[in-house]
């Protein structure tokens, strides 16, 4: 799954540097964990370089009434800088200050807020404001920011943020989630109809890799649920997903989920055009053998239709 993880980390690094993902193409061969380490190191370096200045601004904010500091911030500080200042403030002061900022400014500020440094502040801000900011981010298409925030806000609040989100939005937020545990908590709370809409959106936009990345990042239980939902799509969608699985060499991720399907669903899933391509069925069986999923070898051949049996034999 290195290609999918690589894609996500590239997007995150590019966003941190304020450039388009293509600008960091020199890291095409770098492992995703190295790209993540580079992003973390850059973030720490920027913060360390100016921490004393952020603290001085925070001292000014502490020296005047919250309403005045709110006015100063909105007049003088770009939201990105305000986010860094917030990260060094005492949480109670930052919470008071947040209460004096406009929702629009707060939403802009949250794009640059480091969720880990800001976790105590987010804890203190009332849920309705967090939801309003989250929905503002959603409306602006700030999926990357939301992906970071679902890791630090309460799962129920995260659910309220994505309530009503389109399938396409939802899949983007999910695949950019920083913390797999938070992603799982969110997926568990999302109904099948919404997940199907998200998976359908990936199909409609021909971005199967997004849905596949999602499958690769969740727990076994959620993976099985997502694979089960994919299996219910029409043959064109299923073939799109399976082509993507093959192209990303991701059979090891998907096969355990396929085994949970009953025979009828599994047969419907594997008897599609994608698995007729040269070497696909052989690869499935080889990966199953490598990953100790012998059940694939016993179940799959018996479920193949004539055309697929011929492809496997040929």
């Amino acid at each position: 799954m290195s290609t999918l993880a690589h894609r996500v980390e590239t997007m995150k690094l590019a966003a941190a540097l304020g450039v388009a993902p293509e600008a960091v193409s020199m890291l095409a061969a770098a492992p995703p964990e190295s790209i993540r380490a580079l992003r973390t190191a850059y973030g720490e370096a920027v913060f360390a370089r100016h921490e004393s200045r952020f603290r001085r601004i925070a001292q000014v904010a502490a020296a005047v009434p919250a309403a005045v500091s709110g006015r100063i911030a909105q007049l003088a500080l770009p939201p990105a800088l305000a986010a860094r200042v917030a990260a060094v403030m005492d949480a109670p002061l930052a919470v008071r200050l947040a209460g004096s900022l406009s929702l629009d400014y707060l939403t802009s500020l949250s794009v640059s807020l480091d969720p880990l440094r800001a976790a105590p502040i987010l804890d203190g801000i009332d849920d309705d404001t967090v939801v309003a900011v989250g929905q503002g981010l959603l409306a602006r298409g700030e999926h990357l920011t939301l992906g970071r925030f679902v890791s630090v806000i309460k799962p129920d609040v995260a659910m309220r943020v994505v309530d009503g989100a389109s399938g396409a939005d939802l899949i983007q937020v999910a695949l950019l989630a920083e913390d797999p545990a938070a992603l799982d908590a969110l997926i568990e709370r999302i109904g099948d109809d919404v997940l199907v809409a998200a998976i359908d959106a990936a199909h409609a936009d021909d971005v199967y890799a997004d849905a596949l990345t999602l499958v690769s990042q969740v727990s076994a239980a959620n993976r099985d649920r997502l694979v089960g939902l994919i299996a219910q799509l029409d043959a064109a969608a299923v073939t799109g997903y399976l082509r993507s699985v093959h192209a990303h060499d991701a059979w090891a991720v998907v096969l355990p989920g396929l085994l949970v399907l009953d025979d009828a669903a599994l047969a419907r899933m594997v008897n599609v055009e994608a698995t007729l391509a040269d070497g696909v069925l052989e690869t499935i069986l080889a990966v199953a053998a490598e990953t100790g999923l012998g059940e694939v070898a016993t179940r799959l051949p018996g479920l193949l239709d004539e055309e697929h049996r011929a492809a496997l034999a040929g």
């Binding site: 540097l17 600008a23 190191a41 370096a45 001085r56 601004i57 100063i72 007049l75």
Partner: protein, 74 residues
């Protein structure tokens, strides 16, 4: 010419071993990106400090100046 060690040292990171995959030219390009991003941050911080002082109500400005520019550079 950049190396993975010089990129790591510039960022104050311990090591960035995964950058082995980059050529010297690619590391130079990466350094350029990091440097440009850092310069944008520097500029935003400097102008933010000055703008903060300007935005502070006049009666509080003397105290704010001392906090923001303890060396008197503001």
């Amino acid at each position: 010419m950049a190396s993975k060690e010089s990129v790591a040292a510039w960022l104050g990171a311990e090591a960035l071993d995964g950058l082995d995959t980059c050529s010297t030219a690619e590391l130079d390009e990466l350094c350029g990106l990091l440097q440009a991003a850092m310069e944008r941050e520097d500029a935003a911080v400097e102008s933010g400090l000055a703008a903060t002082l300007k935005a502070v109500p006049r009666p509080l400005r003397g105290r704010a100046r001392k906090l923001l520019f303890p060396g008197g550079e503001g």
